[in-house]
Every structure is written in C-alpha cells, then in structure tokens.
Amino acid sequence: MKKYISSFVGGFGAGVLQIVPVAKNLACCLIVPIASYIAIQLERRASKDNNKIPLKKGIMIGLITGLYAALFGSLFELLITFITHNNDFIFAMSGLQKVIKDFPLDEKIKAEIFSMISKVASDIQRQGFSVLYSFSIIVNNFIINPLFGLIGGLISVQIINSKISKDTTEF
C-alpha cells in the first residue's frame, strides 16, 4: 500500500474530478493521464530520486492510478446516484431519446431501446440504483481508467526523462 501511495493520491483526485461537472468539462479525457503524471512526480519527490525513471515503473504507477481512479470514480458515482436519485444519465436521457426518435429506425427497435432507457431511468429515480447502470459504470470505469492511466504513465515518463536528459546536458 505504502509503495503506491502516490497512485492512491492521484487516483483519488481523478475519481473525485470525474464526477465534478466543471472539472470534467475542462479536463475531459485528460483527467486520468494528468493524475498519472502527478502520481509519478509525487513518487519521484517521495523517493528523492532525480535519475531517469524506468518506463516499466511509469506504466505500473499509471495503471494503479487508473485502477484507484476507477474504484473511487465508481464509488462516488454510485453513492451520489443513490443519495440524489439523479445523475448525468437522467439529464442526457431526453436528448438520447430525441436522437433515437428522429432516426429512421425500425419501430420495434425504437420501442425496445426506449423501454431499456426508461427502465434504467425509472430505477434510478425510484430507488437511486439500477443494476444495468451500476454494472455499466463499474465495467466501463475498470476498463477505460486503467488504460488511460497506463498511456498517461508512459507519456509522462517520456516527458520527465527527456527533461532530465536536457538538464544533465545543460549542466
């Protein structure tokens, strides 16, 4: 646990920011990669190591940051949905229904999709919980966040190492 405390800090921050609308609007898909960068920098500071970072270590920190972000992101999202009986799916639902309604689709397909959306929305509004919604949140978070964390970790190490190389040639 202590070994990955920087990933924990970065992942927790990313998990919180993922549910804050303003932060989400500005940072968009860059929240988890930026969290990985911060986690790697924190790790460097904590270990007082100014040498180049091995890429394997960067990948590991990025991946674990992504896993923490997925864990906290899912927890906060499900908790807030449970308390408020509302979330961004409810907001986006009418827009989504309009898109499908305007499409030249088979009426049977349209009806099935509408009933699926309505079922999820009514479960959330009545109980604050939907099995399908919770399942999709957890699966999506645990696939996408570690992947973006891993990519962020790789690119961050490349940037940090390039800076170290530049600094050592300058002095």
């Binding site: 989400k24 088979d106 790789l154 690119i155």
Partner: protein, 154 residues
C-alpha cells in the same frame, strides 16, 4: 509482444473508438447498431463531457464525443496510420506535444473568457494536433519500453 503487434492493437482500439464516435452515421446502414448507442454513449461519458452544444455536427448527424475529443482520436488514428505507412515527422515530437497543449489550452481560455465564441472547428483542429503529438510520443515511449525490456532480458 513485438512493436508491430502493439501498433496493430492500438490501431484496432482507435478504429473501434472512432467508429463508435460516428455510430449515428453508420446506423443508416444497419439499424441493429442502434442497440449500441446506449452502452457506447455511457462508455464515452467517462472520457468526454459530451455537452450537446460541443458535439461535432456533420451532415445531419453528430458525434457522441465532443469536437475536441473527436479531433484527438482522429489525430491519433491519422498519426498511427502515417507511422505504419512510413511517414515520419521531421520536427521534435516533444516540441509538437508542448505546442499542441499550448494551442488547446489557449482555445479553452479564450472561449471561456469570452474573447471568442466556442467553435467546433477550432476545437477539432487543436484536438487533432494534440492527438497526433500524443500518439507520436506514445509510440516513442513504447519503443523505449521494448528496448528497456530487451536490455533487461539480455
């Protein structure tokens, strides 16, 4: 796993992402794709804010990701295809990366402070540049990672 197979895996992932983003266009060819709108839209909500005013509009359709994210993933796939067919950038990848971040941040600051109105084309182009730069940097990192692993093994 060789560098070539990693490149192809990333190409496959980017291809799926881009097709998912333009799924509203593809539905006209196969109506059953409409069942995928809900799960794809929900998955994309993790990597993009998906504000309806910032989605990229084309013909009578719109993307599921915002204009900037659409640019990032289109830039990523363009850069990867360029690398695969042997087109190499003559400029420093890191400088391109910093420039693209600077342009993207400038656009965000300018439209949020009201200097100009949000433009889906500016967002798309700045995102596209960032996508190219980030993908190039990712590929260099992967090459270095493979070198690092090989040097440990021998």
């Amino acid at each position: 796993m060789s560098y070539k197979s990693i490149q192809l895996l990333i190409l496959f992932l980017l291809l799926i992402l881009n097709i998912g983003n333009f799924i509203l266009f593809f539905i006209q060819f196969d109506n059953r794709l409409a069942y995928l709108i809900l799960p794809i839209d929900k998955s994309f909500s993790l990597i993009c804010h998906q504000q309806s005013s910032k989605l990229f509009n084309y013909f009578t359709f719109h993307t599921l990701l915002c204009s900037r994210c659409t640019g990032i993933y289109l830039g990523g796939i363009t850069a990867l295809i360029s690398i695969l067919i042997g087109i190499k950038l003559k400029i420093s990848k890191l400088e391109l990366f910093y420039t693209s971040i600077f342009l993207m941040l400038s656009d965000i600051i300018f439209y949020t402070s009201g200097i100009y109105n949000y433009s889906q084309w500016i967002a798309l182009i700045t995102g596209f540049l960032f996508g190219i730069a980030a993908l190039n940097l990712l590929m260099i990192s992967l090459q270095n990672l493979i070198k690092e692993i090989n040097s440990e093994n021998f």
